[in-house]
C-alpha cells in the first residue's frame, strides 16, 4: 500500500508538467486490443467496487466497536476487528487500482485529463492529503487494536471515527470530479473555471450522489462482509466456527438491510436532480434508450428484497419461539411478490404486432398503469414496509414482553404500519389524477409515512422488549446452509447492480466527456447497447469476486496455525452454536475493556 501511495504522490507532483505536455499530444491514444474505453471502464468499475467496500465497511465496523465497548460484549469487538481486517486486506488493491486508473486517464485521454486538471487541480492535493491521513489512521486503528484497549479503548474508537471521516471526505472529493462531468458548474462558456473551484465541486448532482453513494457503500460493505461470513460458514469445521460466522453473516446482512431500506429514496432524489438539471438527460435515463435498465434494476432490487427477507425467515428457525410468527410469512411473500411484479412491469412492453393491435397501442390499457412512477413508488414503499415488518418479527422472535402496556403498544405499532400503508397506497392512486409535478411531490409524503411508521414502531419496540422474557437462546450456526448461498447471492446481485447503475450514470452523458462542455471525439464515442454493457459489467463483477475470493483466502491463510483460528492474536469469543447451550457469558467491561478475555 505504501508503494501505491508513493506512486500516487509522484504522479501528482508531475501532473502540471504532464498537463502542459498533453497540449502538444494527441487527444487520445488507443489501448491495445480492447481499446481505451473498455480499459478505463474495467479499472474504474473495479476501483469503485473496492473503494465502496473500504469506505462502507469501516462505517459500521466502528459502530459495532462502539456497541462492544459500551456493552462490554467481546463478540462485537471481535466482529469489528474481523470487518476491519477485511477492509485492510482490500486497501492496497483499492489504491493500486486508483493509481492504475489515473495512469489510464493521463496516458489514453490526455486532453480530457488536462481539462479536468485545469478545473480541479487544487482538489488533487486535498485528495492526496486525505488519502495519507486515512491510510495512517486505518493503520493505527488496525494494528493498535490490542495496544489501545482497556482504559485506552476510547482513543481506539476515536481513531475508527476519524478514519471514517477521512474516508467520507475522500468520497466527497472524488464525487465532485465525477458529478462535474455529468452536471458541470462554475465555468464560463469556453469551459474555463470562472471563480472558485467550490462552484465546480458543488454542482447539481454532487450532493445527491454523495448521499446515494454513502448509503450504497454501507449496503455494499454489509453484503460483502456477509458473503465473507457465508464463505467461512460453509467451510467451517466446527460448530463453534459455524456459530461465529453465522452471527457475522447476520450482522452483515442486518447492516446491509438497514441501509438498503433508505437507498431507494436517495436514488429517487438523485434521479429527480438529474431531471431538474437537464430534461434531455433525465428522459434519456428514465424514458429514453436507458429506460430498459430500470426494468433490469427492478428485477435485481426485487431479488434483493426477496433474498433479504428469505434470509431473515430462514434465520428465525434457529430462534426458539419464532414459530408463532410463521403465519405472517405467506402474507409477506404475497406483498413482496406483488410489489416485485408492479415494479418490474415495463411502461413500454416487448410486444409483437398482434399483441400491440390487441392492446390498441404500445401501452397496455391496464398494465400500463403499473409502468409509471406512481405505481412503482407505491410498490417499493410497500416492500420496504414489509421488509421492516420481517425485521421486527425477527427481532422479537425469542422475546416476550413483560411490560403491562404491551397490548396498547402492539396496537399502536400495527396502526402506525397500517396508516403508513394507507398513505402510500392513497398517494399512489391519487397520483394518477394530478399533474406530473404534483405527483412527483407525493413521493415525499409516501417516504415520510414509511419512515414515520418505522420510527414509531421502533420507538415503542425498544422499551417494550427491554428486559423481556426469553423463550430460548438463539442457536447460532444451525441455520440452513442455503441461507448462506442467499448471502452470497445478495452480494453478487448488489455488486452487479452497482455496475449497472454506474453505467446508467456515466452513459447518460452519451458523447460527452463533460456534458455540454467537452465532447468525446474518440473512436469510442458511442454509448454501448444494454446487452454489451451487461456483458462488460458481468465480466468486471466476476473479476471483482475473483479478487475478493483471493483476499478472503489470504485472510484465512493468515489465521492458519493461530489458536482458535479467529484471525486475531488469540481465539475469538465462544458462541452458542449447534446446541441449546447458553452462550458464554460476555466478559465485563471492567475486566476486559471491551476485549476478548483470551486476547491479552
Amino acid at each position: 500500500m505504501a508503494l501505491a501511495v508513493v506512486a500516487f504522490l509522484t504522479l501528482l507532483s508531475v501532473l502540471p508538467a504532464v498537463a502542459q505536455d498533453a497540449a502538444k499530444e494527441p487527444a487520445y491514444r488507443a489501448f491495445p486490443l480492447i481499446g481505451s474505453r473498455l480499459a478505463v471502464w474495467a479499472v474504474a468499475q473495479l476501483h469503485l467496487n473496492f473503494a465502496a467496500f473500504i469506505l462502507g465497511v469501516p462505517i459500521f465496523a466502528v459502530i459495532i466497536e462502539i456497541i462492544g465497548w459500551r456493552t462490554g460484549d467481546a463478540r462485537y469487538d471481535w466482529l469489528s476487528h474481523e470487518f476491519v481486517k477485511l477492509t485492510f486486506a482490500a486497501f492496497s488493491t483499492t489504491a493500486l487500482l486508483g493509481a492504475l486508473l489515473l495512469f489510464l486517464f493521463v496516458g489514453y485521454y490526455p486532453k480530457f485529463w488536462t481539462y479536468m486538471t485545469s478545473i480541479f487541480f487544487p482538489t488533487y492535493w486535498v485528495y492526496a492529503l486525505l488519502f495519507f491521513a486515512e491510510t495512517f489512521t486505518v493503520y493505527v486503528w488496525y494494528y493498535g487494536w490490542d495496544w489501545l484497549s482497556g482504559p485506552r479503548k476510547g482513543i481506539h474508537v476515536g481513531l475508527g471515527v476519524l478514519s471514517n471521516l477521512f474516508g467520507t471526505a475522500i468520497l466527497l472529493v472524488a464525487n465532485s470530479w465525477v458529478t462535474f462531468m455529468i452536471s458541470p458548474a462554475g465555468i464560463d462558456e469556453s469551459g474555463a473555471l470562472k471563480g472558485s473551484v467550490w462552484a465546480a465541486i458543488n454542482n447539481f448532482t454532487w450532493m445527491p450522489i454523495n448521499i446515494h453513494r454513502l448509503i450504497a457503500n454501507i449496503v455494499f460493505g454489509g453484503t460483502i462482509a456477509a458473503a465473507y461470513a457465508a464463505f467461512r460458514f460453509l467451510g467451517a469445521k466446527t460448530d463453534e466456527e459455524r456459530a461465529r460466522y453465522d452471527w457475522m453473516g447476520y450482522i452483515g446482512n442486518f447492516v446491509a438491510l438497514s441501509a438498503f431500506i433508505v437507498l431507494p429514496f436517495a436514488g429517487y432524489y438523485l434521479g429527480r436532480e438529474i431531471y431538474a438539471f437537464n430534461q434531455t438527460m433525465g428522459i434519456t435515463m428514465m424514458g429514453g434508450f436507458m429506460s430498459w435498465l430500470w426494468i433490469i434494476q427492478a428485477i435485481l432490487i426485487g431479488v434483493l428484497f426477496m433474498g433479504s427477507n428469505y434470509y431473515l425467515w430462514l434465520g428465525m428457525e434457529r430462534i426458539p419461539g419464532s414459530e408463532r410468527y410463521r403465519r405472517y410469512v405467506p402474507i409477506m411473500i404475497g406483498i413482496l411478490a406483488f410489489g416485485f411484479m408492479v415494479w418490474a412491469t415495463p411502461r413500454s412492453m416487448v410486444i409483437t404486432l398482434d399483441e400491440a393491435r390487441a392492446m390498441g397501442g404500445t401501452h397496455h390499457p391496464v398494465l400500463g398503469f403499473l409502468g409509471v412512477m406512481s405505481a412503482k413508488n407505491t410498490a417499493v414503499n410497500m416492500m420496504i414496509l414489509t421488509t421492516f415488518l420481517s425485521f421486527v418479527l425477527y427481532r422479537r422472535a425469542n422475546r416476550i414482553s413483560t411490560k403491562s402496556w404491551v397490548g396498547a403498544g402492539m396496537i399502536v405499532q400495527w396502526v402506525a404500519l397500517g396508516l403508513a400503508a394507507v398513505v402510500v397506497v392513497f398517494y399512489g392512486v391519487y397520483g394518477y389524477f394530478v399533474e406530473s409535478m404534483v405527483r412527483i411531490g407525493f413521493s415525499v409524503y409516501q417516504v415520510l409515512a414509511v419512515l414515520g411508521a418505522i420510527g414509531v414502531v421502533m420507538a415503542i419496540d425498544i422499551p417494550m422488549f427491554k428486559g423481556a422474557r426469553s423463550t430460548g437462546t438463539i442457536r447460532w450456526g444451525t441455520i440452513a446452509p442455503r441461507s448462506q448461498y442467499v448471502l452470497i447471492l445478495l452480494a453478487v446481485t448488489f455488486t452487479w447492480l452497482m455496475g449497472l447503475m454506474g453505467f446508467a450514470r456515466s452513459g447518460i452523458r452519451q458523447h460527452w466527456h463533460v456534458y455540454g462542455v467537452m465532447r468525446d471525439s474518440s473512436v469510442d464515442a458511442v454509448t454501448p447497447a444494454i446487452g454489451y454493457a451487461a456483458n462488460m459489467i458481468t465480466i468486471v463483477t466476476i473479476a471483482f469476486f475473483a479478487l475478493v475470493m483471493f483476499i478472503f483466502w489470504l485472510g484465512g491463510l493468515g489465521e492458519k496455525g493461530m489458536a482458535g483460528g479467529s484471525g486475531h492474536h488469540a481465539p475469538a469469543p465462544v458462541f452458542a452454536g449447534g446446541s441449546d447451550a447458553d452462550p458464554t457469558p460476555a466478559p465485563s467491561r471492567e475486566s476486559t475493556g471491551g476485549r476478548s478475555p483470551q486476547r491479552s
Binding site: Y310, W313, P330, G361, H364, P365
Partner: protein
Amino acid sequence: MNLLRSRFAQAVLILIVAFVVLKFGIRPAAPWSVLTLYMAIVLLAVLVFVSSDSDSWRDFVWPIRATLVDPNRRLARLVFLIVLPLLFGYYAYTQAAAKPQAPPELRAVHPAPPASIQFRGKEIQITGLDNPLRKDQASYKKHVAAGAEIYIRNCMYCHGDNLDGRGHFAHGFNPPPANFQDPGTIAMLQEAFLFWRIAKGGPGLPKESTPWNSVMPAWEDRLTEEQTWQVIMYLYDATGQHPRRWEEGH
C-alpha cells in the same frame, strides 16, 4: 384434502392459479413477455414460500425425491422420462419455429429531446420553454378551438377523433400512433417536448434507440409556430391532462 396439505401440491396449485389469473384475468391479454416475467416472479415467490422453513422444504421435496428413488414409483418415473422431454421439445419448437410476423421489439418509452431546435430557420430553445399562448388566458378558448380545427384537419386520421390513437389509418402502423388519453403519454411531458415532436416528427427523432419506425411527418413544413402551440393546447384541453411543468433549479 390430504393432497392439498402437501406443500408440493400447494406449490403446483399456486402456480396454476397464478397462470390462469394472469393469462385470462387481464383484458386485453398481457403480452407474452410480461406474462413470462410475472410467472418467473411467482415461481421465485413459491420457491421462497416452500423453502422458508425446514419442515416445509422437506414436505415439498419429499414427493420429488420419492418419485426419483422409490422402487414402487417406477411407472411414474417412466412417464416423466417420456413426457418431460416431449414437453421441453414442444416448447423449444414453439420458440424456434418461424412465425409470419416481425419479432417483438424492445422499445424506449420516450425519445430524449434536444436542448434546442431550428424551426423554419429560427432557433427555439426547448429546455425550459413554456407554451407562450398560455400567458394570454383571455384567448384560451380561441386557441383551443383553433387547435381543435388543426387537429381534425391533420392529426385525427392517425390519432383518432377520441385522441386515443385509433384513427382511420392507425391499424396500418407498427407501432400504433400515440394515445393521448393514456396518462403515460402527454401528461408526463412538458409542452416543449410536444412542440419538438410535432415540429420535427419521425425524421427528427434521435439516433439512440433506433429504429423508431415513426411515420409522423415533420409538421413545421405545414404548421406555423402559433398553430403548433394551439394544437398542443387542444390536446391537453380535450384529454383533461395537464402538461408537466419544469422543475425549479437549485
